[in-house]
């Protein structure tokens, strides 16, 4: 009998605010422990939270992107529990009235099929601090730098039926929040954290008991962990056991998941509305203000790239893979006056992306700017250089040797378009290859390619191939 897999994801996206959600302390990553925790973050007596208004626009933006119902009146609640890295003894979060309600996100699987995943809600909350072990032997230290950092917890419906779907959804959400500029997406620093709720059931039966997989910081491992967890649950049930509702951790070295809590505690969080904060009211004008500055979404951009620039679906997908990439491309197209967007796309997806990946750089770190790449493409378009020479020019630009024009000039790479010079090259090659000329005239037309190759070689690749072709045909008539 077959098994059905049910997966729902909870994603914690750290919002790109300069200060914390309820205090003015900085959110910069990597500072000395407790250097970025003010009395409010430390839960000192008499301290009160004040909402950082910057989180509202970012939340609304996600809500619009997911076509969600917005929480025009949302309420902060206290979630009560004791833990050393939770300085107030409660987390301020949103329970009954989240800022973003039901929405959806369309994902595309590897085989090209599309599926709509429901997004139950997204709510604002504060992050906890960190317990630090090992600095003082036998004791635990508390670092409150992260305490109070603004998070948007995005909760999906249990709509995913495989590890692949779950990862496709997580990646799509990751791409989206970065596109919107509301989260930097850095998984290593914990800015984008994915918790997976996994359960299995026989088709038609009610939902099975779920296990939650936490703290996995790469898409690859999320996929593996879910797959292993599915196998484990099926094995447990098939051998007559029962799945326990618990949090499990993925051990990537042993490739297993294991229970995180030894003793199951039924926590009663005693949620209730936080009396220190007023309900958050969003007006239509607030929503419109966000709409006005909202960047074009990846899917819309993809469709536009195909229709406006005549790109293939594949190229459009690659170029919209990140907002930085798409913006770089559009800049290059604009700077080349949109004379050959396909040529720009080819350079972006091959030469440029190749160099970026080879050197492990981000687009922002690229030594070749959009202006420089456009400068080179202009020279291809106006026939100053061939595509082949362009590769040489690009590499020199990458190495910091200057702009395309400077390199073409200093290295003498300008394409030979002078008819006289080309004629001399053609004559020379034909003179040196009498037997091949004979063969061509006898009907072996493929010899033409041989002559072109010889001529290009003797010109150091600088002869204009179109002109060479034309002249050869004329001479061999």
């Amino acid at each position: 009998m077959s098994w059905e897999v049910v997966i729902g994801l909870e994603i914690h996206a750290q919002l790109t605010t300069k200060s914390k959600i309820f205090s003015g302390a900085s959110t910069e990553y990597g500072a000395a422990p407790n250097s970025q925790a003010c009395p409010i973050d430390a839960g000192m007596p008499g301290m009160l939270p004040v909402l950082n208004q910057a989180v509202l626009g970012k939340s609304i933006m996600l809500g619009l992107a997911l076509e969600s119902e917005l929480g025009m009146r949302s309420v902060f609640d206290r979630k009560n529990y004791f833990y050393p890295d939770s300085p107030k003894g409660y987390q301020t979060t949103q329970m009954d009235f989240p800022i973003v309600g039901q929405g959806k996100l369309e994902i595309e699987l590897e085989d090209g099929t599309k599926k709509v995943i429901g997004v139950t809600r997204a709510h604002l909350e504060e992050d906890a601090g960190k317990s630090v072990h090992g600095i003082v032997p036998g004791q635990t230290g508390i670092d409150l730098n992260r305490s109070g950092t603004a998070l948007l917890e995005i909760v999906s419906d249990p709509d995913m039926a495989s590890a692949k779907e779950a990862v496709a959804y997580a990646k799509k959400m990751h791409e989206l929040v970065m596109y919107l500029g509301i989260c930097d997406g850095n998984m290593q620093e914990g800015s984008f954290r994915v918790d997976s709720n996994v359960s299995v059931r026989r088709p038609g039966e009610p939902l099975g008991t779920r296990a939650e997989l936490k703290n996995i910081n790469s898409f690859k491992f999320i996929e593996k962990a879910i797959e292993i967890e599915i196998e484990r649950q099926i094995e447990v049930i098939e051998s007559g056991g029962q799945v326990v509702q618990e949090t499990r951790l993925y051990d990537s070295e042993k490739d297993i998941t294991r229970s995180m809590r030894t003793k199951e505690e039924a926590n009663d969080y005693r949620y209730f509305p936080c009396p220190d904060l007023l309900p958050v009211i969003i007006t239509e004008a607030d929503v419109q203000a966000v709409r006005d500055v909202m960047p074009e979404l990846p899917d819309a951009k993809r469709i536009r790239f195909v229709s406006e620039f005549g790109l293939s679906d594949y190229d459009a997908a690659v170029l919209t893979g990140s907002r930085a990439m798409a913006e770089f491309f559009e800049k290059v197209v604009a700077l080349t006056e949109a004379k050959d967007p396909k040529l720009c796309a080819n350079w972006m997806t091959s030469g440029f992306s190749g160099a970026i990946n080879r050197d492990g750089l981000t687009i922002e770190e690229s030594p070749v700017s959009a202006e420089m790449l456009a400068g080179m493409i202009k020279r291809i378009i106006d026939n100053s250089i061939s595509g082949k020479i362009a590769k040489q020019v690009f590499e020199a630009m990458w190495q910091g040797e200057g702009t395309a024009d400077e390199i073409i000039e200093s290295k003498g790479l300008k394409q030979i378009t002078d008819t006289g010079a080309i004629e001399a090259l053609v004559d020379e090659v034909l003179a040196n290859n009498p037997s091949q000329v004979e063969a061509y005239k006898a009907g072996q037309e493929k010899m033409l390619g041989y002559f072109v190759g010889q001529i290009m070689k003797s010109s150091g690749g600088q002869a204009n191939p179109g002109q060479v072709n034309q002249m050869l045909k004329a001479k061999l008539k």
Binding site: P39, M44, P45, P49, N80, P84, G89, D268, R270, P275
Partner: protein, 484 residues
Amino acid sequence: MHNLTIKQMSEKLRSGEITSVQLTQHFLDRIDQYDGELNAFVTVTPELAISMAEEADKKIAAGEAELLTGIPVAHKDIFCTDGVKTSCSSKMLDNFIAPYDAHVVTQLKKVGMPILGKTNMDEFAMGSSSESSYYGPTKNPWDHRAVPGGSSGGAAAVIAAGLAPLATGTDTGGSIRQPAAFCGITGIKPTYGSVSRFGIIAYASSFDQAGPMTRSAEESAWLLNAMAGFDERDSTSTEGARPDYASELNNSLKGLKIGVPAEYFGEGLDADVEKAVKAAIAEVEKLGAEVVEVHLPNKELAVPSYYVLAPAEASTNLSRFDGVRFGYRCDQPTDLEDLYKRSRSEGFGEEVKRRIMVGAYALSAGYYDAYYLKAQKLRRMVRDDFTTAFESCDVIMGPVAPSTAFNIGEKSDDQVSMYLSDLYTIPVNLAGLPAISVPAGFANERPVGLHIIGSYFSEAKLLNIGHQFQQVTDWHKQVPAHYQ
């Protein structure tokens, strides 16, 4: 010097007849002399007081003095005070030196009011007698056998005994008005949101409100002017400028409609207290006011609602006292759970633990609807009662408390009877309204307070009524013989 009015002190300071240092030293000397028997202060800060007085004298000399510049003040030990122990009268915070000032403290520092010290209170403001203080009970200056009321009992006692000319308090369920009544002084709880809660150690956030405790209504108006103001650090602080609370002091009371609810004069009210309060209302009538009958039918719901909601908020407000970052930590904890359990059970007193337990229970799964949500509904009903009543009157008058000050130890074993001593004050906090207590005579040789409740932001009107009443009575000028 301690029996001068604030106006007289202010005039003498500005004319150069006395200095702030002399005035401050005079009160420090009186604290030295009398606080041993009263136990009204948790901390006295003579060095801070004198250095602030010196600064105030410079300000006065430079002609930059405001009305209250140079006049010393005592802060309830619930207001965080930079560099000074701020204990909330709890063992939990016995070692806590605040690294910042509460907004109220900042405001009064700006005016140049020397800080004499921090006054005793019920632990974490939970109580009506100041007996739950870790530092022992404060005594009532009128009768050392009696409590001064609570939770701002220390503040009321220092004003009554002339150990400070002005004091600050906080009122969550009556904690300014009831001790003011018990000690024969004037105290006003402003509309919720008028005074910033920043730096006030929270008991029940949706009720807590700070206010002045003084001898006269006029003096309360001046001190409230200095304390109130919008503060962006408190999300519940009302935006916009505050009115001049002293601007209506001299208005006539002609045509004022006083609502007197029958429900405030029923069973449980001491007959002599009732007599004094009714006489006081008659006095106000003589000034041109008119009495109308109003009803507050849901008065009985107020105490039960409050004793669910306030503990619910308190139970989580006090979670931060966990022995991890500040405050009391138990000796030699064996593990994290032991650290939490022992630090909290050893650091908190009985009444605080009782309210944390009650509050946690009211919020717990399965009981939330029956207790917390129900209590919120009752809170709205109590508030609606006032809205209806204010359609037919300008202010409501009645007793502050059902009796005069009870004896130390008399109610400490009977919580319900203690809770019921706030049955007239609690409804006002549920509704977030302003209310004042003004001295209105004596019953059984202990002071009685007249309670005047107003609609939202009507502080200036309440102070006006109090002031006009004090123009024709001298209850507020009475001083216990021992502290003349």
